[in-house]
């Protein structure tokens, strides 16, 4: 955190100055470790064992905050008889379909509720076909045992599930000594209860894994057990890496979502009614789903969207599977994608298997790149290593390329949403130089041109475009007014023209329009709330008048949990939001994240639906049952509880279960994307992990061209321990070549005790650390670490596993880089064990997991 989010880290230091214990768990010793009270070096890819060990410690030592978990979480819920745990099924949960290679989660539900409980907003995460869909009716009739003794209650299921995550197992699998692990577990538990809270911060070190979502789930379980959610000083903080990566998730340039986490159309929905029914929860905030969706259709299609024509649901394109980045690139390589628009991203450097990215681009008919300078992505056809070396001559690349210079944030106005869901307006300071323009202007004008080109069309495929609302006032000649776009996102009443003040005002009858329901209220009263800048020193520490946070300017989600079930603060010290009995409403230092006048004593009648089903003690109002989910009865495709699986490429066999890897992981079996053996590959004996540095930004598009930053961090390097240096004859500041089956990169060697070999399952394991910022253009250059990494992904969110893989390192520079994409094969001919170690338990999975793309080069 001190490395990649230094200014955010000042608050960690503030906490430390007030007596907080700072714990840092990371394979490397970094600036964060230097400031922490405890640093635990860990084997990359083993965190579920570490975190699961903490869960077990809490459960077995009776350290959970019982007054919190019994009313506020599903600890007491009884799970269906049919549910079977990984303990019983060799690392699988019940419901595994070995033919389809996916789970049917029907057995994971609550007893007493016949249908599956939907997970708010993430219906699309349920694998197609296997979903009995599911309003989760009668959630109020779920059976609970508040003594937590029932053998099938979540609490007892968790005790059995995590029983094998012992301190000895943590030491053996993660390389964290037992006494160090116990110190951390004790410190966390001591910091729980009415008076104390603890927070978790994480970044892509947790998300770039084939079990990424389950990492975060394990942390969420700890935080719920310790009573750290919805309370000041608690929570799980995702430290995200781009200025508006949260905004581009909320208003998604993502394939599977519409604005506000509304799922895209899918053939599994039999028309608009089925779509609305399937996504409407019986209770909680998602029970008003039709209002959110219909208001979006009204914002986009105006008068053309009516109840009679199904709000033009049929105009939405349907997704039928995985259309995420890696799947698209694989399709590109196979010649299925013809046109590509890339804006402010540099996938040749930032995405996996860079040569495969370029191979895809070379197959396109045309490509548009918008950026500040000619990135590697824009210039690949001219200066890529394989072009310069003559392996792929420029004259053989047929792609037509357009480069548009982009306006900087100082040359346009608009909002970024930061990692805490805060929208902040930035003002335009100067005009963009030359032909540089904002994406807002580019997109608007492209849309206007396309509307003109299709104006005369009577083809039904063009109806949606022709009806699309696309009239925006201009803030200066030719430039659409970003404030007007923000007002459309906020929403308006169509009968009275008034701006929507909160998402609760949205209607399902077509009388409101709203571009993103969770952002409703950002221009409440016609005032741009995101531009508010009341100085911090002139308001409370929550700073409610600085910018605007979704939803409804709440700075902390689920803050009802900051009060006890009776509605009183858990303690004076942790006062945040509480029930004011005299006024008959919730109040506090933040906007209460609850139904404003719902008394703590309110209990729904059996069979209640919508917001009526939320009890006065149910803080997690986005969830259908209002409870924090220790056990996820739906919404997660690879299991209701986290289980440790080894990475796609590991150095050891899975010590927890016979199943080696996440059975639901996504693989791309292609010759240009080869994998190593599951573990103990004699060619690739070391672990590699990648990371970012303080002085550079992601794929370098905003940092490698700057002399100020280039001087601070001028060259690609890897970090290794003195022990590995001795073993391989590597010298500090000398050259090394790091290789995988995908390719090889050269870099300088930094020999440092900050990298420590760890004893894993009785064997010393070395980890190689590699920053991934560099590539062949820019003021400072170097090989791109991501060229080493293959396509393999988490099944819930399709994110790649780039934080752990295996590789080799040898002294010296490479000659010409060997790249699997161009047919280069590993030079080191070592005889491989036959048959190799298995990633999957025999009989439990099909021979090859989807998605399988065609490999046209297959002989």
């Amino acid at each position: 955190m001190a490395e990649c989010h230094p200014v955010g880290f000042q608050w960690v230091m503030e906490a430390k100055a007030r007596g907080a214990t700072i714990i840092h768990v990371d394979p490397r010793f970094t600036r964060t470790s230097a400031m922490a009270d405890i640093h635990a070096p860990i084997r990359a890819g083993s965190d579920i064992v570490f975190l699961g060990g903490i869960v077990r410690y809490i459960l077995e030592n009776d350290k959970a905050f019982k007054e919190y978990i019994i009313p506020y979480t599903n600890a007491a819920n009884i799970i269906n008889k049919e549910f079977k745990d990984t303990e019983e099924l060799a690392g699988f949960f019940s419901g595994w379909d070995p033919v389809k290679g996916e789970y049917d989660g029907a057995s994971w539900g609550y007893e007493g509720v016949e249908e599956t409980i939907p997970a708010g907003g993430h219906q699309e995460a349920v694998p197609g076909g296997s979903t009995p869909h599911v309003p989760g009716k009668a959630v109020t009739s779920a059976r609970r045992d508040e003594t937590l003794q029932h053998p099938r209650c979540v609490y007892q299921i968790m005790r059995r599930h995590f029983a094998r995550y012992t301190p000895a197992m943590v030491a053996d699998v993660c390389g964290v000594p037992e006494e160090l692990f116990l110190r951390i577990a004790e410190a966390l538990c001591k910091n729980s209860g009415r008076d104390r809270t603890g927070a978790f911060c994480y970044a892509v070190g947790w998300t770039h894994h084939t079990v990424a979502v389950q990492y975060i789930r394990t942390a969420a379980i700890i935080q719920l057990l310790l009573g750290n959610m919805g309370r000041p000083g608690g929570g799980i903080m995702a430290l995200r890496g781009h200025a508006s990566i949260q905004g581009s998730t909320d208003i998604p340039t993502l394939f599977n979502l519409l604005p506000g986490y509304i799922p895209m159309r899918h053939p599994k929905y039999n028309g608009v009614d089925d779509y609305l029914k399937s996504n409407t929860a019986s209770a909680g905030i998602w029970s008003a789903f039709p209002a959110y969706f219909i208001s979006l259709m009204k914002a986009w299609f105006g008068d053309a969207a009516t109840k009679e024509n199904g709000w033009r649901f049929n105009w939405l394109p349907a997704i039928t599977g995985d259309h995420s980045h890696m799947a698209t690139v694989a399709d590109m390589v196979d010649g299925k994608v013809k046109g590509y628009l890339v804006m402010g991203e540099n996938p040749v450097v930032g995405s996996m298997n860079g040569t495969l990215q370029r191979k895809g681009m070379a197959k396109l008919d045309w490509m548009v790149v918008r950026d500040f300078a000619l990135t590697e992505t824009a210039d690949f056809w001219r200066t890529a290593p394989e072009v310069v070396s003559g392996e792929v001559p420029s004259g053989q690349i047929g792609t037509e390329v357009f480069f548009f210079p982009a306006a900087a944030h100082t040359e346009k106005e608009g909002t970024f949403t930061n990692t805490q869901r805060l929208l902040q307006w930035h003002h335009k300071a100067v005009e963009p130089p030359g032909a540089a323009r904002s994406e807002l202007e580019f997109t608007w004008k492209l849309g206007k041109r396309l509307k003109a080109l299709y104006a005369a069309s009577r083809d039904s495929k063009d109806d949606a475009l022709r009806a699309l609302t696309w009239e925006y006032p201009e803030s200066s000649p030719g430039e659409p007014d970003a404030a007007a776009v923000l007002r459309e996102i906020n929403g308006q009443g169509l009968l009275d023209g008034r701006y929507i003040n909160a998402y609760t005002e949205l209607k399902d009858d077509g009388t409101t329009a709203c571009g993103c329901w969770i952002y409703a209220g950002c221009t409440a009263g016609g005032v741009n709330q995101t531009a508010r800048r009341k100085p911090a020193r002139e308001q409370s520490y929550v700073a409610p008048e600085w910018g605007w946070a979704w939803p409804n300017n709440r700075r902390m989600l689920y803050n009802r949990a900051s009060a006890d079930p009776a509605g009183n603060p858990w303690s004076e010290r942790k006062r945040y939001v509480w029930w004011d009995a005299a006024l008959g409403k919730w109040t506090g230092v933040d906007v209460p994240d609850f139904i404003a006048d719902r008394a703590p004593t309110y209990r729904p009648v059996p069979g209640a639906t919508g917001l009526d089903a939320i009890s006065g003690t149910d803080p997690f109002i986005m969830q259908t049952d209002g409870k924090g989910w220790l056990f996820a009865p739906s919404g997660i495709v690879d299991g209701p509880l986290p289980a440790h699986y080894e990475p796609q490429e590991s150095v050891v066999e899975n010590a927890l279960y016979p199943q080696q890897c996440n059975p639901m992981r996504m693989e791309w079996h292609r010759r240009d994307n080869p994998y190593h053996l599951a573990y103990r590959d004699p060619r690739y004996p070391f672990l590699i992990t990648t990371y970012r540095l303080t002085e550079h930004h992601t794929a370098g598009g905003m940092s490698r061209w700057l002399s100020w930053l280039g001087e601070l961090m001028p060259e690609m390097f890897c970090e290794i321990s003195p022990e590995l240096a001795a073993e391989r004859g590597l010298e500090h500041t000398g050259w090394a070549t790091v290789s995988t089956a995908r390719g090889e990169v050269q870099c300088r060697v930094v020999v440092t005790q900050r990298m420590r070999p760890l004893r894993i399952r009785g064997k010393m394991v070395h980890q190689i650390g590699m920053p991934y910022h560099w590539s062949w253009i820019g003021r400072v250059r170097g090989d791109a670490a991501n060229d080493l990494i293959g396509f393999v992904a988490d099944p819930n969110v399709h994110i790649q596993e780039s934080k752990v893989l295996t590789g080799n390192i040898v002294p010296g520079r490479r000659a010409t880089a060997r790249r699997a994409t161009l047919g280069g094969s590993p030079g080191n001919a070592i005889e491989l064990p036959e048959p190799g170690p298995l990633r999957n338990l025999p009989g439990m999975v099909p021979f090859k997991r989807q998605p399988l793309q065609n490999d046209p080069e297959k002989e």
Binding site: P6, P317, W366, S438, T443, W705
Partner: protein
């Protein structure tokens, strides 16, 4: 006092007392030249902004004079950053004013070996024509299983996390109306 003033011409302490600037750090520290000096940002417009690098969302102040950015500094009013910027945030001035920024639209013909400059309007027209042509040629009313899909898999988009919400909104809105579903950004990277 007159005596002190005379004495002060030779003895600074006397002058400091006479001028009621005992520490010598007040009015007496100014020279004729320094009295006339003004900070570079004096009289500049100040635009409140947000750091474009990571997602912490530190406040920035952009100082502008004569249509040019003079400097970008941390915004001490921000409850997030309290005026601080990290090495990247502190380099924002160079990011937005540096010589690396391309000012022209560049075009590479199929199988071409060099970039050429083309006018913005022409490039926009060409891109719109390509989007239409590819979309029309690759349109799928139904997929191979006969499902009604109303889309094209011939066009894809990447990027969004470095852009504004309003920009992402228009992109998703336009692409969806065009039937383009392969829209992705850095959230998965």
């Amino acid at each position: 006092m007159g005596f002190l003033k005379i004495l002060g011409d030779h003895w600074p302490l006397a002058k400091q007392i006479a001028e009621r600037d005992v520490t010598g750090l007040g009015s007496l520290s100014w020279s004729e030249r320094s009295v006339g000096l003004r900070p570079r940002i004096d009289g500049a417009e100040v635009h409140q902004s947000v750091c474009p690098y990571c997602a912490v969302g530190c406040g920035q102040k952009v100082y502008v004079k004569d249509g040019k950015i003079l400097d970008i500094e941390g915004d001490e009013d921000s409850p997030i950053s309290r005026g601080r910027l990290c090495p990247k945030g502190s380099a924002t001035f160079q990011l937005v004013t540096g010589t690396h920024r391309v000012r022209n639209v560049l075009y590479r013909k199929p199988y071409g070996t060099a970039w050429e400059k083309i006018p913005l309007e022409q490039a926009m027209e060409m891109v719109a024509a390509r989007v239409k042509k590819t979309r029309d040629e690759t349109w799928d009313a139904k997929d191979e299983k006969g499902h009604d899909v109303q889309r094209t898999l011939g066009i894809a988009h990447l990027g969004g996390a470095t852009l504004d919400n309003e920009e992402n909104y228009l992109l998703k809105k336009l692409y969806t109306s065009l039937g383009i579903v392969q829209v992705e950004n850095q959230a998965r990277i």
